[in-house]
Amino acid sequence: MAPTVLICDDAIFMRTMVGDILQQAGFEIVGEAETGAQAVEKYKQLKPDLVTMDIVMPDMGGIDAVRAITKFDPDAKVVMCSAMGQQALVVEAIQAGAKDFVVKPFQPSRVLEAVQRVLG
């Protein structure tokens, strides 16, 4: 059974890119979210094996979303997607519960490495 992933980013473009990389690696994309609020809601609904989370999103940003998701499920495996120049934010995201991160622009190999590390 393919591992499931929830993709959270407010840009369809980015969601598509991440989605394609993960799909090619054998993941099943069970949901997408455009805002932090949606991400939390969908996590509760879908309980995916993995979440990719953009930091900058409207209506609850990624960090607050990670916090909420981790509170709901301490075992949640969230990988933050960050842009260059957001070190402090990513640190904050990890403190909020994210397990790993990848930096845009995405390199497929790095995305997969991060995912592998997180899923074990």
């Binding site: 369809i12 455009e34 940003g61 260059m84 120049g85 622009p105 497929p108 190999s109």
Partner: protein
């Protein structure tokens, strides 16, 4: 596996347009209400997302420029940059540069001149303090920072030395992750370099920590590696205290500061788009439309044929099929509908710039932004609207001084509205400016020979027809925006080609309203089929009010001309046979179609009314003088062609 940017080019284009649209929209809000934190947050987010997308596509020059914009916006957000008109202008210029850079992404190395200039403006606005910050960020070589004097690695515990991979991204964060993993195994008694410094590193690091733990070296190594990007890890559990050489780290700031921007904006982005949607290739929608059009025609034939056969079971099945086809048609038409704001969206910016260019103050209002139109129609309507808006700003609305002198508010009011009217959409551009100078137009029209010398005054319709003549312009000087007499003519033609028409109402001193009436959907139209002689014609139902029989009581003569007396009204009467110049003798038992355009009505005499039918409109390029009567053609159920009458044109002769 690598990402091939070309696969995502189309997606990038549409997405980036949305981001740019959001940037412009929110910059306008920001300009109008200085302390709008929501708008500021929205601009920041949009620039940020746009940057990420450009970087992913490999458009690094644009991404870097976007990053500069983002930094400035971040400073504004944190209150470190004051909100001034110069700032707004610089941001607008930057937005334009971003938009312009998309035009030419084939040159990915390219920093366009617009970008360079915009960047200069951003730096200027950012002022002295920021420039020095930028300078400080670009340290040449590496500045070495020494760590504390006493060696923190002396003492009990396991010494773990880690070296990060040379291509580590956000190395400070990776290091933080590694330390966090180590903490899970025990206590991190000390670190070299210090944790704070390490966290802010921007280049791959070598660091060490002293860990008080019971875990095995293997477990420690595994934990550290699970943080990612670890080139080398060495665990020394020997317990000896070791003097290590003083660790130095190289801090090379690469113009990237850890952004301390607030992590989430509580602001709700305006719900400009539906939360669930799929992206469909535009050509697919066109194909669907064509197919359903053909199917509709074929249905007509099947219905005819089955009626002739008279088999109850067949009739039943045909009825069902007919209903299904009608439903399918409705669904396809609906799926092609888009709300007008998708085109109206870019107008506020356009109006702002145009108004500034000619020194006018304009209050721009959009109404009915959720009204929907067939998407190809909407695509076409954009340009005519731009013409009309510019006309209003350039010719219609007066300067603030002139307005004040006339007792009007200094700011002119320009309203763009969309509304449904049965199977048409009315789009209005309305200004409260000076109105059209009728005397001037009349004089010019007489001079040009368009209007008879004896005419005293022009009504609204005649006025429009004059203005819409190619090359007609009463502007004394041709401004940069309009006044070449090209605008209204082009609008008129374009709207007619779309199957609609233009109306104008103007009151001197009070303003002008241009109304575009366009069918809601382009390709399939409900029409009344009529026969005159041996030709059949289609009359779009949008222009048909009612039908009646040609009876002696209803048709009378006034001053030698036939008129239709309908209830309380006397309407002009036209004979389709004469209109299309078919010749021949009128038949008995003729019928009258009451046609209308706007508020005007007329009677049209035809030999026979055949019935109502959905027709697929095929447009043709009509030469300017010929075929003015027809807006297109269609294929009827039996395969024969029929011309579609441009009802609007029938009213012009009167």
């Amino acid at each position: 596996m690598t990402i091939d940017p070309q696969r995502y080019a189309e997606l990038f284009r549409t997405e980036s347009r949305e981001q740019l649209s959001a940037i412009n929209r929110n910059l306008l809000l920001l300009e109008q209400g200085g302390d709008d934190q929501e708008a500021l947050g929205a601009v920041f987010r949009a620039v940020h997302t746009f940057k990420g997308m450009c970087a992913t596509m490999g458009y690094h020059a644009v991404a870097e420029f976007a990053h500069e914009c983002e930094s400035l916006l971040d400073r504004v957000r944190r209150g470190e940059q004051s909100h001034t008109p110069e700032l707004m202008d610089a941001l607008f210029a930057a937005a334009d540069a971003l938009e312009g850079s998309l035009e030419d992404v084939s040159d990915t190395s390219g920093t366009t001149p617009a970008m360079t200039q915009a960047l200069q403006r951003l730096h200027d606005v950012a002022g002295g303090s920021s420039t020095s910050e930028f300078r400080a960020m670009r340290l040449s070589g590496g500045a070495l920072v020494e760590v504390a004097d006493s060696d923190p690695l002396e003492g009990p515990g396991v010494i773990v030395r880690v070296r990060q991979r040379a291509d580590t991204m956000l190395p400070g964060v990776r290091a933080y992750l590694a330390v966090t993993k180590a903490r899970a195994l025990g206590e991190v008694a000390a670190m070299s370099p210090t944790e704070d410094l390490l966290r802010e590193a921007t280049t791959p690091q070598a660091f060490a920590l002293r860990l008080l733990t019971e875990a095995t070296p293997e477990a420690i190594e595994a934990a550290i590696r699970s943080a990612g990007d670890v080139e080398h890890v060495e665990v020394d559990a020997s317990g000896h205290t070791r003097r290590t050489t003083r660790a130095t780290i190289e801090v090379v700031a690469e113009g990237e500061e850890p952004s301390r921007a607030p992590s989430a904006s509580a602001a709700n982005a305006p719900a400009m788009r539906p939360t669930r949607h799929v992206r469909i290739d535009l050509s697919r929608l066109d194909t669907l439309m064509n197919l359903i059009g053909e199917l509709v025609i074929t249905r007509g034939r099947l219905l005819q044929l089955s009626a002739g056969i008279g088999d109850a079971a067949l009739d039943d099945a045909m009825q069902q099929a007919s209903r299904l086809i009608a439903d399918l048609q409705a669904e396809i038409i609906t799926s092609r509908m888009v709300p007008v704001w998708q085109v109206f969206d870019r107008f506020p910016r356009l109006v702002r710039d145009a108004a500034r260019q000619v020194g006018k103050d304009v209050n721009f209002v959009i109404e009915g932004k959720d009204i929907e139109l067939d998407r190809s129609l909407l695509d076409e309507i954009g340009e005519p609207l731009v013409h009309l808006l510019r006309n209003a700003i350039d010719h219609g609305i007066e300067t603030p001084e002139a307005r004040a002198a006339a007792g009007k508010p200094r700011a002119g009011r320009l309203v763009l509205s969309a509304a449904r009217d049965r199977s048409a959409v009315l789009i209005r551009v309305s200004d409260d400016g000076r109105g059209v100078d009728r005397a001037k137009v009349l004089a010019k029209a007489k001079a040009a020979g368009i209007v008879d010398a004896g005419v005293k005054a022009l009504d609204d319709e005649q006025l429009l027809r004059c203005i819409a003549q190619p090359g007609f312009s009463t502007a004394d000087a041709v401004s940069g925006l309009s006044g070449r007499g090209v605008g209204v003519d082009a609008v008129h033609t374009k709207v007619r080609v779309l199957g609609g028409h233009v109306e104008m109402k103007s009151v001197e001193g009070q303003g002008t309203t241009m109304t575009l009436r366009v069918p809601v959907t382009l390709a399939i139209v409900r029409a009344l089929l009529a026969r005159t002689g041996n030709e059949r014609y289609a009359l779009p139902l949008t222009h048909v009010r009612e039908t009646l029989e040609y009876a002696d009581g209803t048709v009378q003569q006034v001053r030698g001309k036939d008129v239709l007396v309908l209830r309380d009204e006397v309407l002009p009467l036209l004979d389709l046979r004469e209109v299309v110049r078919q010749g021949g003798e009128p038949e008995t038992g003729r019928e009258i179609v009451v046609i209308e355009r706007g508020e005007r009505r007329s009677g049209l005499v035809v030999d026979e009314l055949i019935g109502q039918q959905d027709i697929v409109v095929k447009q043709f390029d009509a030469p300017r003088d010929g075929l003015a009567l027809f807006s297109g053609a269609t294929i009827l159920a039996d395969g024969a062609p029929a011309l579609i009458v441009d009802v609007g044109s029938l009213f012009q002769g009167n």
